[in-house]
Amino acid sequence: MFTSKDKYTRALSDQIINAEIQPDDGVLASIRNMFRTNRAALLGLILILLIVLMALAAPLITRYDPNEMDLASMNEPPSAQHWFGTDDLGQDVFTRVVYGARISLMIGFVPSLISLILGTALGLMAGYMGRRVDAVIMRLADVVLAFPSLLLAMVIMYTLGSSILNMFIALSIINWAGTARVVRAQTLSLKEKEFVEAARSMGVSRWRIAFRHILPNCLPNLIVLFTLDIPGAIMWESSMSFLGVGDPNTASWGLMVSQGKGYAYMCPWLILAPGIAILVTVMAFNFLGDGLRDAIDPYMKT
């Protein structure tokens, strides 16, 4: 290459002038600022942290076992001993809500993560690997999106059997297509960007462009998408459990509502406690996701 001796005669004088640059105000600062001004998003974040903490520290929060039956105290209303009352098997509802957070969070996270990875990979391939691959993947996505999601998930659960693993599979299948669409659209627009063209003009390989330029630029949106997929998955699972296609052995909040529905009149706490837990969790994620979107969107435009 060149030696450092033959360089700048005059560029040096220009160098002094370029001393000042703008202070850093990247996407992180924008998110930090968002939390300062957007109270709902901050509340969402705090609630999510509390729910995660509750799930992790469940044995420390309650002294009951979630599956321990006490036939002597069935369908008891809330009291000092049983804060949210007991159910028809004498199980402590508060304990079951606390432990249910583990299940419901897992149901929120795992399929969202799977569909995120799957959708991103397929979307990137569709947008980047030419027309034929694009056609195959997007027609597949259209099929998934054309089906009523709940019906499709229920069909899958019926076919595969009711287990939590199959629930993950069903939710991943109904969710990937949306992610794939978003990633494909963004890949197509990023592909036309001048900086991608610049990389091509320098002889950067296709794979490198996909992973170094396109994927990282999709990332902020993927984070938002992921945050909003989680409450979606929790809702789907609750609906399916309520309709009786969930895994009857995992005490998710949805299943609790379903099991309590027969006693809704006499023992409303049986559905109110898990119902409110679902509501709070879903709202918390939605608040956070909306806030993140507001913070990231303008940054993505500039």
Binding site: R10, D14, I16, I17, N18, A19, E20, N33, R36, T37
Partner: protein
């Protein structure tokens, strides 16, 4: 000669997210626009030239605020007028055209209908009369096949034709003042030349005053009678166009002129103004140009120079205005 618009001591500030202090984008600007003349307002991006015009028209974005000053137009202060009355003046006695006509035209209404609408609103014409008058206007601003273009949507017209539509719309009411904000910047040179000529011809005919906001010194030389040069939110120089291009006095204006590749032979370096425009929130204490000025003294860094008359109404904001003619194509000032 009387002035159609007199801007006095105008200051405008902007708020931005998460920062308490407002940034001053325009600081004590005085501009007079004489009847029937074309006044140029030049400066680089961020100097406050567009903000000045938007403030006068009451069109500042939500985070912008007029901090003080007045804009006297026909005995009224535009800055103090209620919104309703200001709206009546806009598009009627004062019109504006912008760089990208696409953004000021409604994409789902045909170009003809939009102009006709303005006529019905401001001139009270009925639908048929408005259409006939619109086609007349289209013809006047040089739109070929005006009847056919009447029914075209904005996106079906080229950039040059869209700008003609905008000019037609702006001139409908024979306004006293036309504010043109970089009207030819997005256009090709051959179209730019057509639009500049159209503006000049219309002005000759109607006697409208024009405030031409531009960064292009070529456009200024082509069209303007008087020129104001802005830098970092302030007017640094004002002169008639001949004086400005032969012996401008402010080091910034001279620097701009000298950095143009005019007749400079290849191999000779262009003059370049050191550094970049200062941040609105960190303005230099004395003369705002002093950190980039090759003639700056100690005094310039602490004391703010006033805008003084250096002869025949030629104003310059500098303690030591240059007096020699500009040496074009050289590399010094």
């Amino acid at each position: 000669m009387s002035n159609i618009l007199e801007i006095k001591n105008l200051s405008v500030s902007f708020a931005s997210d998460g920062i308490k202090e407002r940034a001053i984008a325009v600081n004590g600007v005085d501009i007079d626009i004489p009847q029937g003349r074309t006044v140029g307002l030049v400066g680089e991006s961020g100097c406050g030239k567009s903000v000045t015009s938007l403030a006068v028209m009451g069109l500042l974005a939500d985070n912008g605020r007029v901090e003080g000053g007045e804009a006297m137009f026909g005995g009224q202060d535009l800055l103090k007028l209620p919104d309703r009355e200001l709206r009546r003046i806009r598009g009627n006695r004062i019109s504006m055209i912008f760089q990208e006509p696409m953004t000021s035209l409604n994409p789902v209404i045909t170009a003809g209908k939009q102009v006709a609408e303005a006529l019905r609103l401001h001139a009270g014409l009925d639908a048929a009369a408005a259409k006939a008058r619109t086609i007349e206007i289209f013809e006047k601003v040089g739109i070929p096949e005006p009847e056919r273009r009447f029914g075209c949507y904005p996106h079906q017209l080229s950039g040059g034709l869209r700008q003609r539509v905008m000019i037609g719309m702006a001139m409908v009411m024979k306004p006293d003042l036309l504010i043109a904000d970089e009207p030819t910047t997005a256009l090709d040179v051959s179209i730019e030349a057509q639009i500049l000529r159209l503006m000049r011809d219309l002005q000759r005919e109607s006697g409208t005053s024009i405030l031409m906001i531009t960064h292009n010194l070529g456009v200024v030389a082509e069209l303007c009678d008087e020129v104001y040069v802005m830098y970092a939110g302030e007017v640094v120089e004002r002169a008639d166009v001949m004086t400005l291009f032969s012996q401008c006095a402010h080091p910034y204006t001279r620097g701009l002129m000298a950095s143009l590749p005019r007749m400079t032979p290849k191999g000779r370096r262009l003059y370049n103004i050191q550094g970049t425009v200062p941040n609105l929130r960190a303005m230099p204490a004395g003369c705002r140009f002093s950190p980039r000025c090759e003639f700056a003294r100690e005094r310039c860094k602490t004391e703010k120079p006033p805008l003084v008359d250096v002869g025949n109404g030629h104003l310059c904001r500098c303690f030591e205005p240059r007096t020699t003619p500009i040496a074009w194509g050289g590399d010094g000032l």
